[in-house]
């Protein structure tokens, strides 16, 4: 032990000699940025990309001179797709490494697992993935879409532009699809869709035998009314699902499937033939041709040294979140979490599709919503977009329990304020 310390001391001495004192002092005085994404396990496929995105943003910011005159230093940890480990690693980042901000999490369950840690230690988390809503924490900024920025506009598009009358809500059996479908069911009923015109179906993770379910959808869809499938089917199960649709000759022209978890990343590396023409709803597509997006894709290819790496929606969310944090820190002139959190509200940065993302008082963003049709090359053709930007709504207006609840961290100073009872019930994530 002593020996090792001595060695380290020597190394430190050597470093001090070889570098000039000023630069050594500056190196010690960096701002630490935590990256909490799974680099191994089942979620690694999606989350590794996000880690790379944050590292690229940090590198670019440092080239511009860092923040508040200090360089940024990434602290990368690997929670290994293990939900309890997320909490442990978050604790490590906040307590041991004392990071100024954390970019991380993908699944809702990992976010739920780190939430108490961030609130206890007063940390700052940027969460970049579309999720089921029903949450607003003082310590979290949600840069992905809330249900009203993805699911509801997609249903509106199908209802108004395509004239869909019958609905299949198909999902994998876990919290995001269950909550989203509950919101959608309430929304559809509010729009006058009858119970008999809604078919809800859940399947286990990694389901591969879709014969009966697709046959059911086919039967359900042949009742003479235009039918669409709203899919919250997760990851691996999608390919056999679309394959079976193709084999049973259900084309996107007859029964379109609109998916909320299928993006460029998921489509790269699968046979896209059976998927062509089906839809996805996102706030960003790689194929959207704006100067900002083009240069971002170019930088991404250069950074990853791979001209075939695709970009996707959660990446854009991280870029927006990162730029907002930098702006907020510069505005507050400190990295103190309370002051940065206050400065964050109202910050505007350009998004990559030609609009402006604004941080709202409920810690959600304004976003445009796009519907894209899948092309044979795994990219999307945008067929519809919202007129302007949609402000993110933390608590859905269509669920009986959350209709009266509001999140406002400026005037109400509360993430869960009941407008009927006029009470702030603190953090209640159920």
């Amino acid at each position: 032990m002593n020996n090792r310390r001595r060695v380290r001391g020597l190394a430190g001495l050597a470093a001090a000699i070889s570098f000039i004192a000023a630069s050594a002092a500056q190196a010690a005085d960096t701002i630490k940025v935590g990256v909490l994404h799974s680099l191994s396990g089942t979620m690694a496929i999606s989350e590794t990309t996000l880690k790379d995105t944050v590292l690229m943003m940090i590198e670019q910011q440092n080239k511009k001179g860092g923040v508040l005159g200090k360089k940024l230093e990434a602290v990368v940890v690997d929670p290994a797709s293990n939900w309890p480990l997320f909490a442990e690693k978050a604790e490590q980042l906040l307590v041991k490494d004392k990071v100024a901000v954390v970019f991380g999490c993908w699944t809702s369950v990992s976010r739920k697992s780190v939430l108490p840690v961030f609130e206890k230690n007063n940390g700052l988390l940027f969460y970049p993935v579309q999720y089921e809503g029903e949450e607003s924490s003082k310590n979290v900024f949600y840069t992905g879409a809330a249900p009203n920025q993805q699911a509801i506009p997609a249903v509106d598009y199908l209802m108004k532009d395509i004239g869909v009358k019958r609905w299949v809500l198909a999902g994998t059996d876990y919290v995001y699809p269950r909550t989203t479908n509950k919101i959608l069911e309430a929304y559809l009923k509010a729009k006058g869709v009858k119970q008999e015109d809604i078919l809800i179906n859940y399947t286990p993770f990694g389901h591969s035998d879709w014969q009966s379910i697709v046959a059911d959808i086919k039967k359900f869809g042949s009742a003479g009314k235009k039918t669409a499938v709203v899919s919250t089917i997760n990851g691996d199960a999608n390919v056999p699902f679309y394959k079976e649709l193709g084999n049973q000759k259900i084309s996107a022209e007859d029964i379109p499937v609109v998916a909320f978890s299928v993006g460029e990343e998921e489509l790269s590396g699968i046979d896209t033939k059976p998927l062509v023409g089906h839809l996805a709803a996102w706030n960003y597509f790689e194929s959207i041709s704006t100067p900002v997006n083009k240069s971002f894709i170019k930088e991404w290819h250069a950074y990853t040294k791979n001209p075939k790496r695709v970009t996707n929606d959660p990446m854009e969310a991280h870029v927006i979140g990162f730029n907002m944090w930098v702006k907020a820190v510069e505005k507050a002139k400190t990295i103190d979490v309370a002051k940065v959190t206050d400065a964050m509200i109202g910050i505007e940065v350009p998004n990559m599709t030609g609009g402006t993302a604004k941080m709202l008082a409920n810690h959600h963003l304004t976003k445009p919503v796009f519907i894209g049709e899948i092309r044979a090359d795994g990219q999307f053709d945008v067929v519809w977009k919202t007129e302007g930007l949609v402000p993110g709504d933390a608590w859905s207006d269509y669920l009986p329990g959350s209709k009266d609840i509001e999140a406002d961290w400026v005037t109400l100073k509360c993430g869960n304020y009941n407008t009927k009872t006029k009470k702030c019930s603190g953090q209640n994530y159920e």
Binding site: I45, D209, G224, P240, A252, D254, D271
Partner: protein
Amino acid sequence: MTMLALLPSIASAADANETFAQALKPLATASFQEKQQVIAAIAATRHPNARPVLSALLEGNLHTRDADQRIFIVTEGEEGLALTDPLMLQAAGSAPADEFTKITTNNQLRKALRGLIAGFDLSDPDAEVRLAAVSEMLRTLDEDGVLILRQRVAEESDSKVRSAIETGLALADLDNEDAAVRLAAAVRLEDSLSPDVYNRLKELTGRGDDGAFNEPDDQVRAAAAATVRNIDNWRSIYGGVETLFFGLSLGSVLVLAAIGLAITFGVMGVINMAHGELIMLGAYTTYVMQLLMPSHIGASVVVAIPMAFLVAGTVGILIERGVVRFLYGRPLETLLATFGVSLILQQIVRDIFTANNRPVETPAWMAGSWQINEALSITYNRLYVILFTAVVFTVLLIVLKKTTLGLKVRAVAQNRAMAKSMGVRTEWVDALTFGLGSGIAGVAGVALSQLTNVGPNLGQQYIIDSFMVVVFGGVANLWGTLIGGMSLGVINKVLEPFAGAVLAKILVLIALILFIQRRPRGLFPQKGRAAEG
């Protein structure tokens, strides 16, 4: 004289070209909604080039030149795009791709386009094409379409095509003002099983919002109700057939995954936890074969069958020689050791092919479905898997019953010491048996690569199910595996519509546990002296 006669036709041809060009022009700037009208106008010109232009639009080969908004049919050449002028259908040189914008379509447009193109295909010399065109038109039948079909029905020579057209016309006739025409149409639709017919007739038999019948004429209503009843009956019969097929297909997947295990676990008594990974190796072999022969996807799947057998079989023999043979008679250690092997195999695959799923393409002859009638269709890939299972099962049965190797395998399984004293090299037989079981697992992987994702976790999804089938069917009995797998598949699929996919699986597992409690040796227990071993 001839010159004079030709003149007006030239003039009208120029006119037609002009109308066609005018109809085409707005396509460059129209919104999706406007494009619907534009393509209808293009089709209405009946210009000879309308069909090629519309099908180019459908395939995404219609582009506008950014500089002057002129529309071209393009094909991707080596240097940018090769241009074709839509008016003359003549080559118009080539140009770099970034000077052009694709005219995009969406699902509704593509559907409309297919219907319009079908209108042109009605006069195709090939009856198959005409039939396809008619059913395409019936998907999007409007008044124009009915007119085209009415003209066509008299000229149609093929009986099948004519009957399809008549069904479409009868559907249109249900809206006729004359009750006699409506009755004739309802009678005409008597034998149809089509969902369109069903929905339309069902609507006729119902009452509107004001309480009056949708169809005022009693006779027409009676005829419609009879047809609806008829379709209902047939549908429930075909629904049963369909469920049975789904069950058999799920069952054949289970049998295919389990049958290799029936040999290694059933005959040799080795608990091989790496069995799933041998299936995975077979699936990856299919992927590698497709990489090696990218232009012959169909053949690559066939070639992959023996290759997967060799790859998985070799790995199996290595596992047996390297690990399992030291652990005979110690099932717990075998279980742990082979579990370790399974993790190693997964990690190797992850390192070579990355953790992402690999795209295995489905050959054209395995895609799509066999439409037996309007109420029943069977998907080809499932059908092939059922047939494939039958073939693998038969071959395995012959190997075990009719060949010397099979004789030796059975001898060693029944009484090792006796077989050894009769001069059988038991070690060699062990290795080959294990290799055979593993090779079959690899072959199963080829079939599974067509049904599910090819990734490092593929094997894990099937290992539990495989053990379940073997234990349920009765250890050491191939027939038990076959019947066990098939019945589990059918039970699962019968339950699924009522209970949902998640609950159905749970119910099957509970039933299985109860069954094993009653009959611990499975469906077909070994009898006599062999049972004691």
